[in-house]
């Protein structure tokens, strides 16, 4: 049998067994092994790829950023940020909705993960909005939608993963994510303003510069985290791994010395969760690297490039196709997995055949995949929200659905106005 055909067949089979519920890492690895055996490679090659795929220095950034975010969470810094955001935008129609978005924007810089954002801010934000007379559905929708900013504003674990897999500079990706995060926040806040104006959701507390100043001082130390990280990386002082290390040390300093709210038990739980979450992710990455290597041996990226470039003529068409397929796939495949499988294929084609900027493509793809978290049936954030609030799954889905309008608007802006993404890294000389 033709080997290339065999490989395409194997990819199809592994996608089917993944959909049926086989652990993703094992399906990817298994597919790779069958092909390697057919090609006549020894089994040692498989073990070699697994043993030397994740021992890279950059990979350390993934567990370390996760640890920093978890420790910040464990030290209960979120309510400080909430108060600060409330003091600024409380008076605007839809006040608490905007607080919610700003809160995510600030917190995003620390957690780097949409799920962490939903888990730590979600219950508090939904409760606060309901207390102030907001509709529960609106509260859930805003909280989920605003959590999508997390993976775009640095530090961002999906962007680190993308950088490693597609071999794009992580510093550039981080810088590229800064402006789009504000674009997303802007789109969401515009939408909330329009919805809330008709319903009269306005805070009773008068605006005061004193409150802003006081809450700012309380919230300032954690808000410095993204500035330290992005600043250090931009100036070339830190590598991504060193930035992640500094973030961990800073989180320990804030939780243990400044606020003294980080208990030993909370730190222990954070360590347990980060150890298992990063093992889960890195185990898939190790197998995805093996799978990716097999794809290269089998010339799949080139074949796909030829097929795609003969079908689509313009970069815009390619971008549109990529986004539509990611949104559809994002509904059924978990975001990290989708990123690991598709990033190497699509980035090669996008940059070489269509001349797209890899940073632009990376940030846009990551955001697109994050929106996939809000579309059933496999939206991890949706399940998390259901567990946290006890609201039925169907209602959670219905709550977030209207927010897909501003989110997709932001996505289209990022996709077709590349300057939004690449202006900052370019201006800073990258």
């Amino acid at each position: 049998m033709n080997l290339e055909l065999l490989l395409i067949l194997l990819i199809g089979v592994s996608l089917i067994v993944i959909m049926l519920g086989m652990p993703v890492a094992l399906a990817l690895g298994g597919c790779a092994v069958i092909y390697l055996l057919a090609e006549g490679f020894p089994l040692t090659q498989t073990a070699m790829e697994l043993a030397f795929s994740i021992d890279k220095f950059t990979m350390l950034a993934i567990p370390l950023f996760m640890l920093a975010g978890s420790l910040m969470n464990a030290a209960k810094i979120t309510d400080r940020i909430f108060d600060f955001a409330a003091s600024i935008v409380g008076r605007v129609p839809g006040g608490l909705g905007h607080v919610n978005v700003l809160n995510s924007l600030v917190f995003a810089g620390m957690s780097g993960s949409a799920l962490a954002d939903v888990a730590s801010l979600g219950p508090m934000q939904v409760r606060a909005m309901k207390q102030h007379g907001y509709d529960e559905k609106l509260a859930i929708g805003i909280t989920l939608a605003s959590a999508s900013i997390g993976p775009i504003l640095p530090p961002s674990i999906p962007l680190v993963m993308f950088g490693i897999i597609a071999q794009v500079s992580i510093t550039q990706l981080f810088l590229g994510g800064v402006l789009p995060a504000f674009v997303i926040a802007g789109c969401l806040m515009t939408y909330i303003y329009i919805v809330a104006r008709g319903r009269g959701y306005v805070s009773a507390d008068p605006f005061s510069f004193r409150t802003v100043g006081r809450t700012f001082l309380r919230a300032a130390p954690p808000m410095l985290t993204p500035i330290i990280i992005v600043g250090g990386m931009t100036l070339g002082i830190f590598s991504p791994t060193e930035a992640a290390t500094v973030a961990v040390l800073y989180a320990l300093f804030l939780g243990g010395v400044v606020y003294r709210e980080l208990t030993f038990k909370a730190a222990l739980d954070a360590l347990f969760e980060v150890a298992s979450a990063s093992a889960k992710l890195l185990f898939i990455i190790a197998n995805a690297v093996l799978f990716g290597w097999v794809l290269t041996i089998g010339n799949i990226p080139q074949t796909a490039a030829t097929a795609i470039s003969t079908t689509f003529e313009s970069p815009a068409m390619f971008m549109l196709l990529t986004l539509v397929s990611l949104l559809i796939l994002g509904a059924i495949i978990e975001n990290a997995i989708l990123l690991l499988i598709l990033a190497p294929m699509l980035v090669g084609v996008g940059t070489e055949t269509f001349g797209l900027d890899p940073v632009h493509l990376g940030v846009t793809m990551v955001f697109c995949i994050m929106i996939g978290q809000y579309t059933p049936p496999l939206g991890l954030s949706l399940f998390l929200m259901k567990d946290l609030t006890g609201v039925p799954f169907g209602r959670v889905c219905a709550a977030v659905a209207p927010f897909l309008i501003p989110l997709i608007a932001a996505l289209l802006i990022m996709a077709f106005v590349p300057q939004v993404v690449i202006w900052l890294p370019r201006t800073l000389g990258y």
Partner: protein
């Protein structure tokens, strides 16, 4: 990528999951070594040459031991649509057995390849610390073997479960 937390919290949970407990220690080691490196480099301006090697090795062990724990708890990332719909049905149990057996077959290949690789590389050493490279490589066959073992136990449990079911 938060995992569905296994039962309990605190020390009780750590003690109930020894592989993940070791993973936690390795995570602390990785964070500690990286911090040491950052401090040596920026405060004392004397970068240590061996930190990347050691933390890379620790990361491999952390990941693959953690993967053993996740396999025992059945928490590896997978698409759960079908299991939400059909959990408990006999045809679905049979399907899960088949998928687990496929996984076990892959893991056995990894064990065989890993053992061969360990003997092939038995004289290789790391560049900075001159540690045997097998310290890192051996994590692969050991963890693949343990994951296969836990999956095999689950397959047996499922078979027993189906056999005991009234026809």
């Amino acid at each position: 990528m938060q995992p569905e937390a296994p039962d309990g919290t605190g020390w009780r949970r750590v003690a109930a999951n020894p592989e993940i407990a070791v993973s936690m220690l390795l995570l602390i080691a990785v964070a500690g070594i990286s911090s040491l490196q950052v401090i040596m480099r920026y405060v004392f301006n004397a970068a240590l040459p061996w930190t990347e090697e050691i933390s890379g090795m620790a990361l491999v062990w952390m990941t693959f031991l953690g993967a053993v724990g996740l396999a025992r708890l059945n928490l590896h990332a997978r698409v759960e649509i079908l299991s939400e719909i059909a959990a408990g049905r006999t045809w679905y149990e049979l399907l899960e057995i088949a998928l687990d057996l496929l996984g076990i077959a892959f893991l056995i290949c990894v064990v065989i390849g890993g053992v061969d690789l360990v003997s092939q590389l038995s004289h290789e050493r790391t560049p900075a610390l001159r540690l045997p490279i097998t310290y890192q490589v051996i994590a692969i066959p050991i963890s693949a073997g343990l994951i296969a073992l836990f999956m095999a136990i689950r397959v047996l449990r499922r078979i027993v479960g189906i056999a005991r079911r009234p026809a």
